[in-house]
């Protein structure tokens, strides 16, 4: 069932056991799992069926530190959530992303990749993916990895009919849960905002917060403040260890043979370090996105010359007024080192229309990350030399220690951490089952539970974790 307003929902006699906040990839996936298990579940979506400026306005916020996107454009507040602007890139976090890195504090998950692998067949169905091929080591240091450009499922569109016909799922649009109330052991209810005004309290046996990698922290921080610590009793890490995938053009490459690496439909291939390389150099995971732009004719000659005489080739290209320094661009995205001070805070001065403090995001990149991409591009360049595949040039800003460019992508719109998973209650918010520490009936879904970010786009892992949480809740909640 889909209700376009809370008022319409209230007129029904639907009695949910579980309340999910948010209808993005995590919320929708968990709802479908619970609905399939015969468990009545209500999904409260703050937005409507379509994008609106009025809804997005609730997402405004500020950023302190490194340049970042406006917080009301880096995510979407309507049915299907941020899947509505997802580019569709798919890959699951690497096995080593779940393991602690001894050289990077606060890394490692309480679960392993094997814990989510049983759910990957479901993920492939949901995201309409072919099977992943295994990584291909091209040297001791570099793996040729696969990111699948999927059809970019819009969860709202894809599952609207299914949700509408479901007897066990009620999706309620235009209904904003402004805060949860709790007594330190259980969530006792939610406060709702609908149709421009307070809509009273809402209760259910279980609450699952799936409002996104920024909003999950905001809701829980505000709820905890209002409940005097009754919603997240162990709140030291709440909002902290927030992560992104910074993304910049880091270099160029000349390839001797452009058929060496099979590229996808948009001429891209991806490379990451081996665990041995990360351990030896004490760097984080990274992804190099090679975008081929092969030349023909004399341009190809210049590119060939650049393999052995780069300065000369560059000089010729300049004289010919051609940007022919390379035949491929290398974009780098990387795993951020988890840092407690990269955090979501509540604004002390600015609130949204419902009176909820807006986000103040504190975010900075670390010197370790800078070293990661510099060493990473050197590793990739060395690998191309060793295998006689081509040559790499590192961009001036990176090679010469200049500031990060401010006119590029900046990051991936991937919001991770803030309610991270763990066993240490001072450094995590949820346990291995995504249950908030100390609370009997409060769970968190989505990338805010990520302990580390890996280098790949998060939606595949988000969906796998949601399948796992849905499976777990089906057993916990029962019929």
């Amino acid at each position: 069932m889909i209700f376009d307003s809370y008022e319409a929902y209230r007129a029904s006699d639907f009695k949910p056991k579980v309340c999910i906040l948010g209808s993005g990839p995590a919320g929708t996936t968990i709802a479908r799992k619970l609905g399939a298990a015969g468990i009545p579940v209500v999904v409260l979506e703050a937005g409507s069926r379509e994008f609106s400026d009025e809804s997005q306005e609730f997402y405004r916020g500020t950023t302190v530190g490194d340049p970042y996107f406006d917080l009301d454009i880096t995510r979407l507040r309507f049915m299907g959530g941020s899947s509505n602007h997802w580019a569709g890139w798919c890959r699951v976090l690497d096995k080593q992303d779940f393991e602690p890195k001894t050289w990077a504090p606060d890394t490692g998950w309480p679960i392993s990749r094997a814990d989510i692998e049983p759910f990957l067949p479901e993920v492939h169905d949901i995201l309409e993916l072919p099977d992943f091929r295994p990584d291909v080591p091209i040297s001791d240091d570099i793996r040729w990895v696969q990111l699948i450009k999927s059809p970019a499922v819009r969860f709202g569109e894809k599952f609207a009919d299914e949700l509408d016909k479901s007897k066990n799922i009620a999706l309620v649009l235009n209904t904003y849960a402004t805060e949860l109330a709790g007594d330190g052991k259980k969530v006792t209810g939610a406060r709702l905002w609908s149709n421009g005004k307070d809509a009273g309290a809402f209760s259910a046996d279980y609450f699952i917060v799936c409002t996104g990698g920024l909003e999950n922290s905001r809701l829980l921080l505000w709820s905890n403040q209002r409940s005097n610590g009754g919603v997240v009793p162990n709140a030291t890490a709440l909002g902290r260890y927030w992560m992104e995938h910074p993304t910049f053009e880091g270099g160029n490459a000349i390839l001797a043979d452009y058929s060496e690496f099979e590229v996808d439909a948009v001429n891209e291939a991806f490379f990451s370090p081996t665990l041995a390389a990360m351990e030896r150099l004490q760097i984080m995971n990274f992804g190099i996105r090679l975008i081929e732009t092969p030349y023909a004719g004399v341009k190809s000659l210049i590119a060939d010359l650049a393999c052995t005489a780069p300065d000369a080739a560059e000089w010729v290209a300049y004289q010919l007024s051609q940007n022919l320094r390379c035949a491929a661009q290398l974009y780098v995205a990387w795993e951020q080192a988890p840092l407690a001070s990269n955090q979501i805070e509540l604004s002390k001065t600015d609130v949204d229309h419902a009176g909820v403090p807006r986000i103040e995001l504190h975010w900075k990149k670390l010197p370790l990350e800078r070293r990661t991409i510099l060493e990473g591009l050197k590793l990739f360049g060395t690998t191309l030399i060793e295998k006689d595949l081509g040559r790499v040039r590192i961009m001036d800003w990176l090679a010469n220690g200049q500031d990060y460019p401010t006119d590029e992508e900046l990051a991936g719109h991937h919001h991770m951490g803030g309610t991270r998973m763990g066993t240490d209650v001072t450094k995590s918010v949820v346990d291995a089952n995504c249950k908030v520490h100390g609370m009997d009936n409060l769970y968190v879904g989505g990338s805010s539970v990520f302990c580390t970010s890996g280098e790949c786009n998060p939606t595949t892992t988000i969906t796998a974790l949601a399948c796992r949480l849905g499976d777990h809740l089906s057993k916990v909640v029962g019929v």
């Binding site: 270099g251 004399v298 300065d311 010919l320 591009l377 040039r393």
Partner: protein
């Protein structure tokens, strides 16, 4: 120089450049006169990740 370049074909320019030992003039060679230099050593020159023999 730009005027001269535009008056001749690109292929001619390339052929001349490839043949010209004067290419050295456009290169910055780190320790190029070191007699014990390993030709397979990885060096970074103007951001390029190269092996030393690329510069020979």
């Amino acid at each position: 120089m730009s005027f001269f370049i535009k008056k001749i074909s690109r292929r001619a320019i390339m052929q001349a450049l490839i043949a010209m030992p004067a290419l050295q003039l456009f290169r910055k060679l780190p320790d190029s006169d070191r007699p014990d230099a390993d030709p397979d050593e990885i060096v970074v020159v103007n951001g390029w990740v190269l092996k030393r023999s690329d510069l020979a």
